[in-house]
Amino acid sequence: MPTQPITSETMPKEHYLNADYGIRSWLLTIDHKRIALLYLLSVTVAFALGGAYAVLVRLELLTPAGDFFTAENYNKMFTAHGVIMVFFFMIPAIPATLGNFLLPMMIGAKDLAFPRINLLSWYLYVVGFLVTLGALFVGGLDTGWTFYTPYSTAFANSNVVAAGVGIFISGFSSILTGFNFIVTIHKMRAPGMTWFRMPLFVWAHYATSLIQILGTPVVAVTILMVAAERLFKFGFFDPTRGGDPILFQHLFWFYSHPAVYIMILPAMGVISELVTCFSRKRVFGYDFIAMSSLAIAVLSFLVWAHHMFVSGMSVYAAMIFSALSFLVAIPSAIKVFNWTATLFRGSVSWQTPMLYAMGFIGLFLIGGLTGLFLASVGLDIHVTDTYFIVAHFHYVMVGGTIMAYLGGLHFWWPKMTGRLYPEWWARVSAVLVFVGFNTTFLPQFILGYLGMPRRYYAYPEEFQVLNVMSTAGASILGVGFLLPIFYLAWSMRYGRISSANPWPATGLEWQTPSPPPTENFPRTPVVDEEAYDYTRPPKEIALV
């Protein structure tokens, strides 16, 4: 098995990157690949900013006393971290960059069904991001990313409405991405690309898109209601006007729990691709992995109230939501078991994307299993609003989504840029991310279980050792995240030239030059085989 990616002597003469020049050719492009790169750039900015706020939060928590920031400013720090990371990084990260770039190619289409709406979605993202950033920088926001009422509507003295407007706008960018993907998958598949020949990455994005379409509008209208309550004194959630603050939580989590799956499903799609490619084996249980994505999408809408076990709900409602939440473990476990079975007797090689994939499986396992702790009503009451929760969702979001995002980014980097990233540096950073991540968040499970609440800027002295560990881990993690920014940027110019199919992998996106031409394929491909057939040598590329 090749352990070195296959290089090439020359780049293709004409490809999507050099098809046109100048800033206008980028800002007005309707090529899904260029829009993906625009998204890549902007979510990287969001990630860096959100990360900077995390650094400030960890800095404050280095010592038990509240010494770096005032309590109020600390509230603004973690709110900014949450808002930026959730709405402007995690949700668009994989779908709008990797998904945008790959989805049309994987099904043999020339572009998404609505290229101009795709560009519009990027502009909505940017406008929403700028409005929210404006709100965060001028005056700030201190409600937490969850905007709980009645604090957000009746008491908070910060920029709730402006931040809400920004999130509202960017929500439509997410809706439009999902909308575009659904229509593209239904109507734009190449001849022979039947539903069950589609790569699992596409299935995962289909399920994600369903959630984006059906969940996001609910949070959009909820934000409008919060804004109307603040601006015009409408009384939806304010108890002094007959409203019910718990109703806000129901509406909010009706979207925001499924939103977690908007973040993790595309990551699972990436992992399915990576595990098969680097095991040189057809994925085990294709149908089950594909259907488990849909099952997760459906279940995602039935479990929201497990965020509210202590908010004031009847015991029976809590029991039902608890039971439904346990059900999510089934499709998630189906995926993990099938990935593991794919590895079995595969010819596994350990390039960087595979390191990230293995990291994902391990960390997602911990994140997922602690999710079961939290789905149990009794245990959840003990750890609600403690660092246990913080550790749990970071294991899923960072250990899951970001690991997969970075793995996917390395895997498809040669396709996007035509050049290979430096393998040694990439492995170093993958190991740093893994070690740094665990050092940061493993102590937080213990802290939470011992009773350290989240969102406080000071804590009792006995928690300091674990907090210092966590902050130290965050520094390692930060280095691990910064490295790729430098070496990937370096590789765009100086990296070795990649062949069309460096790994070599199956999938239509590898059967076109790297980087691909503007309309993806020199000739519309015809599909005559199932996905992931690694028993045959990779197909020759039809260059004419």
Binding site: I213, V221, L224, R241
Partner: protein
């Protein structure tokens, strides 16, 4: 590589049929999104109506059901003229498309005009939620049925303005869209083969009408039985 914009077929589609199916499916997916958008409000409505039924019933009498009924009729007629515009497009008569769309726009504007009259009347009677909200029960017994009717009726009017306001906003977005389609129809851009923009604009308009069909009884007719 195919040439960019040769006729109505866009560069990334293989056939007009594929393009048309994509546009239609796209509008349906968009409508699914819209249903969830209004769904959040309908859900809120359902909960508060269940909790504060007496207040909602009494507050409902402050709306003018006759104006609401007229508006329902107006919107149903506008759906008819929209359907006729789509039919005109299907048989390839450009001037007729423009005429039917003009009628649709006229009816839509009448609807919005009536809405303005209704809003102004609520404003004059201090029924707009907020500091100036002042509620006078319609029925004598209402305050006995719900001692907190001042607060609970305010939720009713919050929902009334939010739901009808967002519905009106959808119409305000729809009318320029219609005008653009009418203009393109007048210029002869559509034919029996290619008229999916008219069709999907029609889908959107019908959807907005249907939202009103639900809003009218839920807001205007509580207790009118």
């Amino acid at each position: 590589m195919s040439d960019a914009h040769a006729g109505p077929l866009r560069h990334h589609f293989a056939t007009l049929q594929q393009q048309k199916e994509s546009a239609t499916l796209g509008m349906w997916v968009f409508i699914a999104q819209e249903i969830m958008f209004f769904g959040g409000l309908f859900g809120t409505y359902a909960i508060y109506r269940y909790l504060y039924y007496a207040a909602f019933e009494d507050a409902s009498h402050h709306l003018d059901w006759k104006l609401g009924a007229i508006n329902t009729g107006v919107l149903i007629c506008s759906s008819l003229t929209m359907a006729l515009a789509v039919h005109a497009a299907a048989v390839g008569k450009g001037k007729q498309i423009a005429a039917w769309i003009a009628a649709t726009i006229l009816l839509g504007s009448i609807f919005l005009g009536v809405k303005v009259v209704e809003y102004k009347e609520k404003f004059d009677h201090h029924l707009v939620p907020g500091p100036k909200f002042h509620y006078v029960p319609h029925a004598e017994a209402a305050r006995a049925a719900d001692p907190e009717i001042d607060r609970h009726s305010q939720i009713y009017f919050s929902l009334y303005f939010m739901m009808t306001g967002l519905h009106a906003l959808h119409m305000i977005i729809g009318i320029p869209l219609l005008a653009w389609m009418g203009w393109r129809g007048w210029r002869g851009e559509f034919s029996a083969l290619y008229h999916s923009p008219i069709e999907i604009t029609g889908l959107y308009w019908h959807f907005v009408d249907i939202v009103w069909i639900f809003l009218f009884p839920l807001l205007y007719l509580i207790g009118h039985h």
